[in-house]
C-alpha cells in the first residue's frame, strides 16, 4: 500500500463515502444517485464493466473501498457522456468515473497494466513535454509501452493504418524530432506543477 493510501485509510476509517465526497472530482454527488440503473443501460461499454456506475455508487455507500478503487470499471469510460445526459438525477457520472479513476491512480490502487490507465498516463506525459500532443511519439509510445519486442509486433500490426495516414500526410515522420510545441513550454510546466500542488493540498494528498 502506498503512503497516500495508508494515510487515507487512517483518516476516513470506514467512511468511504466521505472520502469520495472530499477527494474525488464531483464526488459530493454520489449520494444523490437513486439507483435507477439508466447509466448502466446507456453505456456503450456497459457489458464490459465489472461494476456499472449504479453499482459503483452503491458500493461507495456500502463502504467497499478496496473493491471500488481497484476495479477496472471506471477505466472503461469512453467519455461519451450518454450517462450524464440521461441521468434523471443529473449526476455528472462521466466526471465522477474520471475522478474515481484518477484517485485510484493517485493512490496507486488502480490495477497495474490496466491499458486505459497506461494510455492516459502516456497521453498526459506526452502533452506535458511540449504543451501539445505529438501524435507520432504518442503512438510509438503506445506500441512500445509493453517493451521493445511487443512494440515491434504492435507497430507491425498497425502498419496498415499508420501507412495510410502517412500516405494521406496525416502522420508526419518528422514529428519524431520534436514537431509542434508551445513556446511557453517551461511556463506551462510550472503552471501545471502549481495546479497539482494546490489540488493535492486541498485533497489532502500533499
Amino acid at each position: 500500500m502506498s503512503d497516500l493510501n495508508t494515510q487515507a485509510v487512517a483518516r476516513y476509517k470506514n467512511n468511504f463515502l466521505r472520502e469520495v465526497e472530499e477527494r474525488v472530482e464531483e464526488g459530493n454527488m454520489v449520494k444523490m444517485c437513486m439507483q435507477c440503473g439508466v447509466c448502466a443501460g446507456s453505456c456503450p461499454f456497459g457489458p464490459h464493466w465489472q461494476h456499472s456506475p449504479q453499482k459503483i455508487f452503491m458500493m461507495i455507500r456500502a463502504g467497499k473501498r478496496e473493491e471500488v478503487l481497484s476495479s477496472d470499471s471506471m477505466w472503461m469510460c469512453t467519455s461519451c457522456y450518454n450517462c450524464i445526459v440521461r441521468c434523471p438525477r443529473k449526476l455528472p457520472i462521466t466526471h465522477i468515473m474520471h475522478g474515481l479513476a484518477n484517485y485510484a491512480h493517485r493512490l496507486n490502487l488502480a490495477a497495474k497494466g490496466q491499458p486505459t490507465r497506461d494510455v492516459a498516463r502516456l497521453f498526459w506525459n506526452n502533452l506535458m513535454k511540449t504543451g501539445r500532443i505529438n501524435e507520432l511519439t504518442f503512438s510509438l509510445g503506445l506500441y512500445f509501452k509493453d517493451g521493445f519486442i511487443q512494440g515491434i509486433k504492435n507497430s507491425l500490426a498497425m502498419q496498415a493504418a499508420g501507412l495510410g495516414l502517412l500516405k494521406a500526410k496525416r502522420l508526419n515522420p518528422m514529428e519524431i524530432f520534436g514537431g509542434h510545441k508551445c513556446k511557453e513550454k517551461s511556463g506551462i510546466h510550472r503552471m501545471i506543477a502549481k495546479a497539482r500542488e494546490i489540488e493535492d493540498r486541498r485533497r489532502g494528498l500533499a
Binding site: E25, P44, F45, H48, W75, M76, T78, S79, C80, Y81, N82, I84, V85, H98, G99, A101, N102, H105, R106, P115, T116, R117, D118, V119, A120, F123, W124, L127, G131, R132, I133, E135, L142, M158, A160, A161, G164, L165, K167, A168, K169, R170, L171, N172, E175, H180, C182, K183, E184, G187, I188, R190, M191, I192, K194, A195, R196, I198, E199, R203
Partner: protein, 298 residues
C-alpha cells in the same frame, strides 16, 4: 460585409501533418465564402482531452484550458473562441462553466495561471465550428454560396458523442440530433436515416481497448452501409480517425470488406462551394471518397 471574427483554437490533431490536417485544410474555402475570419490563439496548448483525467486531476485540466481562455481574452478580446474539435470545445466549455460556478476553483486556477503571468477573468464563450455555422450563418446562409449541389450523394451524418453531449447544439435532442442532417441537406446531399448517428466510436479507448472500440466502429460503419450511404460525415476528428482508420484492421480480423469513406462536414461544404480536391482536403483521406472526388473534379 465585414468579416465575422473569431478566436480560433485548432487543437493538436488539426495541426499541419497531424491526423485531422485535412479537416483544417477544408476550413479555408468554407470560411472565405462565409466571411468568417479565424484568428488563431497565440501559443495555445493542448486541452488535455477527456483521457487527460487519468494522470491530470481536475485543477490541472482546468488550468490547461484556462490558459487558452486567458490568452484569447487578452489578445483577441471580445471574440468567441471557436474550435473544430469537440473534445477541445468540451474542454473549454467545461472550464468556462466550472470556473463560473465555483469561486474556489477559479481562485485556484488563477493562482496557477500566475506562473505564466495570466489571469482569467471569465465570461468567455467557447463554441464549436458547427455552432457558428448554424447559429451565426444559418442553414440558409450555409446553402447560399453552393455552386455545386451534391445531388445524389447519400450521406450518413455521424454526430458522435462530444459534438452532441453533454452540451450539443442548442435546441437539438441528445438522442436524435438533426443539425448535421440539416447541414448535409443544405449543400444538396441526401441525409440517409442513420441509427448510429449518436453512437460512441470508443474514443481514446480505441488505443487501450481495441477489440471493444472496433466492435463499436464496425456497427457505425455497417449501419451506414445498411442505409445505402456513400460516405459518413462527422464533426469530430477523433470519430473521423477512429472510424476511418480501423476499417482495415476490422477487415483483417473479421474478413469484412468495410471501405466506407469518412469525411468532415466542412469537406462536403467546400466541394459544394466549388472547392477542389486539394482545397477540400479530399487527398487526405485514407479511404478516398470517389463520388465526392468526382464532383470536386479530381
Amino acid at each position: 460585409m465585414a468579416k465575422k471574427q473569431y478566436a480560433f483554437y485548432p487543437g493538436c490533431s488539426s495541426q499541419k501533418g497531424a491526423s485531422a490536417s485535412n479537416y483544417i485544410t477544408s476550413f479555408g474555402v468554407m470560411c472565405e465564402k462565409l466571411d468568417i475570419q479565424l484568428n488563431e490563439i497565440p501559443d495555445w496548448n493542448c486541452c488535455g482531452a477527456s483521457i487527460g483525467y487519468g494522470e491530470g486531476g481536475e485543477l490541472p485540466r482546468m488550468v490547461l484550458n484556462a490558459r487558452n481562455l486567458a490568452i484569447a481574452e487578452k489578445d483577441l478580446p471580445g471574440q468567441d473562441i471557436v474550435s473544430g474539435c469537440p473534445a477541445c470545445w468540451l474542454g473549454l466549455r467545461e472550464a468556462v462553466d466550472r470556473l463560473h460556478e465555483h469561486d474556489r476553483l477559479k481562485t485556484e486556477t488563477n493562482e496557477a495561471l500566475k506562473e505564466v503571468n495570466l489571469t482569467y477573468k471569465g465570461g468567455s464563450k467557447a463554441r464549436h465550428m458547427t455552432e457558428v455555422l448554424i447559429e451565426d450563418i444559418g442553414y440558409a446562409g450555409i446553402k447560399a454560396p453552393v455552386v455545386k449541389p451534391l445531388d445524389g450523394l447519400k450521406v450518413a451524418g455521424y454526430v458522435g458523442c462530444q459534438a452532441n453531449r453533454p452540451y450539443g447544439i442548442a435546441g437539438e435532442s441528445f438522442e436524435n440530433p438533426l443539425y448535421l442532417d440539416k447541414m448535409i441537406e443544405a449543400v444538396g446531399a441526401e441525409a440517409v436515416p442513420y441509427e448510429q448517428k449518436a453512437a460512441c466510436c470508443g474514443g481514446a479507448l480505441a488505443f487501450s481497448e481495441p477489440e471493444k472500440a472496433q466492435a463499436q466502429i464496425r456497427q457505425i460503419v455497417e449501419a451506414a452501409y445498411d442505409n445505402a450511404a456513400d460516405l459518413i460525415v462527422t464533426p469530430c476528428p477523433l470519430c473521423q480517425a477512429n472510424v476511418e482508420i480501423y476499417q482495415a484492421e476490422i477487415n483483417k480480423k473479421h474478413g469484412t470488406k468495410l471501405n466506407m469513406p469518412v469525411l468532415y462536414y466542412s469537406q462536403l461544404i467546400t466541394v459544394a462551394y466549388g472547392g477542389s480536391v486539394k482545397e477540400a482536403g479530399l487527398n487526405g483521406q485514407v479511404i478516398r471518397a470517389a463520388k465526392l472526388d468526382k464532383i470536386a473534379g479530381g
